[in-house]
Subunit: 146 residues, 2 copies
Amino acid sequence: MSKTSGKSGSERRSGCPLNASVEMLGDRWSLLIIRDMMLRGFRSYKELMECYEGIATNILADRLRKLIEYGIIAAEPDPQDRRKVNYVLTRKGMDLAPVLTEMVLWAAAHEETGNQQLVELMRGDKAKFLADIRARWERTQAASGK
Amino acid sequence: MSKTSGKSGSERRSGCPLNASVEMLGDRWSLLIIRDMMLRGFRSYKELMECYEGIATNILADRLRKLIEYGIIAAEPDPQDRRKVNYVLTRKGMDLAPVLTEMVLWAAAHEETGNQQLVELMRGDKAKFLADIRARWERTQAASGK
DNA sequence: CAGGATCCGTTTCGATACTG
DNA sequence: CAGTATCGAAACGGATCCTG
């Protein structure tokens, strides 16, 4: 569908750093989903759904699908309950941690914001903060048998 | 506009860091506009327009208006040619430099990307890179009489 | 000519209802 | 619980027109 003018932007704008990534991250939900998986440890559709009550079921499903397609998250069966699906960050997704951190710090500096503890944690020792969440991620990777 | 259901998300999702900011940055163009103003020194409607040939005039105008409204950029008359308008980053906008930098580095690590020189510059000494672009910005501020 | 505003067809989003 | 189907609303993109 949609062959009105051939290329709808993505192809035209490639070659410059960021253009392709914005294609994925440049929407209202993706960054929030990644943030909550990274910083709050969310893993299931339900957790994400309840968090932002505003999101529609189909939108959440769609964003999760696209994030998977893009290699930022992966869906894997829950080790305890094989019927359940857990969404986990891939390494590529975890590598977004510095971006998210800088964004939270920016937001904290320029907007009213909640969760000052988290902000302080980031601001105090950014490198340590990043190392810590990465280490936690490594452990979950090991736990899930990867 | 858009008063279909009273509160369209922003109010419901406040309190958590990032929610409000994503409202502004979470779209396909805003981050690219900021990047080009910050990293490539773009200042005019025309420069931006020609850069991403894909963007429609009304969309660019709309994004510029919203970025101004949000305090990320400002419009001021060109000192040489009073008919022209220059768009410049505010301090709040410049403070996005670390975010942009991390994003570019992420994109460079995980996507094919152009402009490797820029990436190398960032990766080599991130702090110096950030200090440099901020210093350049300070100079333009001084030059425009602010 | 730069910097938009307006109109219009197309694409995407989002709320609700519904389903395995 | 974890989504899919549907359908109206909003955003987008392109072309054109307006204004200083």
